[in-house]
Assembly symmetry: C2
Amino acid sequence: MALKVVALAGGVGGAKLADGLAGTLPAEALTVVVNTGDDFTHLGLRISPDLDTVVYTLAGMADPDHGWGRADETWRALETIGMLGGPTWFQLGDLDLGLHLFRTDALSAGQSLSEVTERVRQAFGVAVWVLPMTDDQVSTMVETDQGTMAFQDYFVRHQFEPRVRGFKFVGAGVAQPSPGVLAAIERADLVVICPSNPWVSIDPILAVPPIREALAEKVVVAVSPIIGGRALKGPAAKMCRELGWEPSATRVAEHYGQLLTGFVLDRQDINQKEDVAALGIHVEALQTVMKSKDDRVQLAEQLLTFTETIDLGVTP
Amino acid sequence: MALKVVALAGGVGGAKLADGLAGTLPAEALTVVVNTGDDFTHLGLRISPDLDTVVYTLAGMADPDHGWGRADETWRALETIGMLGGPTWFQLGDLDLGLHLFRTDALSAGQSLSEVTERVRQAFGVAVWVLPMTDDQVSTMVETDQGTMAFQDYFVRHQFEPRVRGFKFVGAGVAQPSPGVLAAIERADLVVICPSNPWVSIDPILAVPPIREALAEKVVVAVSPIIGGRALKGPAAKMCRELGWEPSATRVAEHYGQLLTGFVLDRQDINQKEDVAALGIHVEALQTVMKSKDDRVQLAEQLLTFTETIDLGVTP
């Protein structure tokens, strides 16, 4: 019997590890629960950036250079929007647009985000389960020195330049997990927190109370998105610093704190193993930079091997 | 002083003559008033097929083969929609989509259709005025042997196969002409009814009461879209027959009736001149098939020459 795994994921980094797990586990053994705090409406389109990144990655359709969006994308609709003086700060590819139009239409017709996601998953040939964390609206708001702004505003339009002071996940406190999320966590042998941004990709998922509660009883292992004090992509290290902490793998482990059973940091940070172990968390140093598909699968395999040692009750 | 002209236009045929007039008249002398009865919402997008055909044609951006849509178009968003099992019966090109997204967003933000059209016109470098007939919602409904259906349903999805019994222009009776329409008609020396489908492209415009009333006092000249008993494009002849009349240029003149001062039919139909003249309408036979840009301009020039003879009071 294969381990049953739930992976919590945000965008690019999370999608890569989810893809590695999908390459290791039987399809029915893996459920990926995806952040929807970044979801927003743009030009009338309902856009779910993290869900799309995860589905495109798992389908092998993701752009290999950016990590987000589709491979062999074109930008002709955006060209027209630009000619007309419309907003071009959010990159809408033509292939990608088809999905946004389909989703917007289905949501308007009363379908839930998880129903739409299920249809997209099947159409794109993704074998593992992919669930939005919730079908309810949760909006990640970033409190910055330039005021409070919606996540995509902060992230894309302002290129994460404003200094962050904190975050709000509006709606999370009353959001219900989407159908299947709690059942997947309940039957899971292991919950993996993917190397996504802790503050804006994973915390929105954890801010949904029934999910947080369900995780409290599980073996939860996180993979650090901070390597050598830096994030491979995105603003995680910058945010960490602006929130008052020196960015490090240890800081990420402290951030998740009691939630964690185990923690994986990069081999570059092997000297932090003791600091993390001192928190009462099982810890392993692995090669966590995922440049190739093989890297993804290898990290997933080694992560699963590491968790077996935890299950055997080896103390940190 | 150049003649001041208002052209009433639907889709492809209307757009071609409007383009010919634009090639003949000084820009400020021409206002094109466009049918919006075909406008509809599809996949959440607000689509104005006739307005787009007219603007693309006047901008030199129209696809030369279809007459509608943009030249050098691609269909990648639609490819994704098809993969997802979404509706693909309405052709949404990628370049075209940008305009639909821009318009949908602007209308949602409270702008009027004429404001959006003005912005599009300027951005695309169209020099003459282009006005939607109204900013209010008017929906052309086609009564057929298969039930009553919205125009695009009849025209695109059902490929105008159902037999028509009549038409309704829902909302037209209470619609107001968009800003500038009545003033343009008032100052016009000539109103040209372009060779568009009388029943579904021109009648919706005429169904807006203040427009119909304003036209009553003007020199109005129509160009027949029926040549040799057939329509060059679309269902005009088929509709005519299903409504109980043999399709002919004369039938078109009869349809517009009292509204017309003059009528232009194709040289092929020169033997119908007397029938039209018998209706008390000035009539001229011209080369009305517009295959090239030169054809468009030549027809426009000869049409204007013909109207000068009317203005001189020459009897039919």
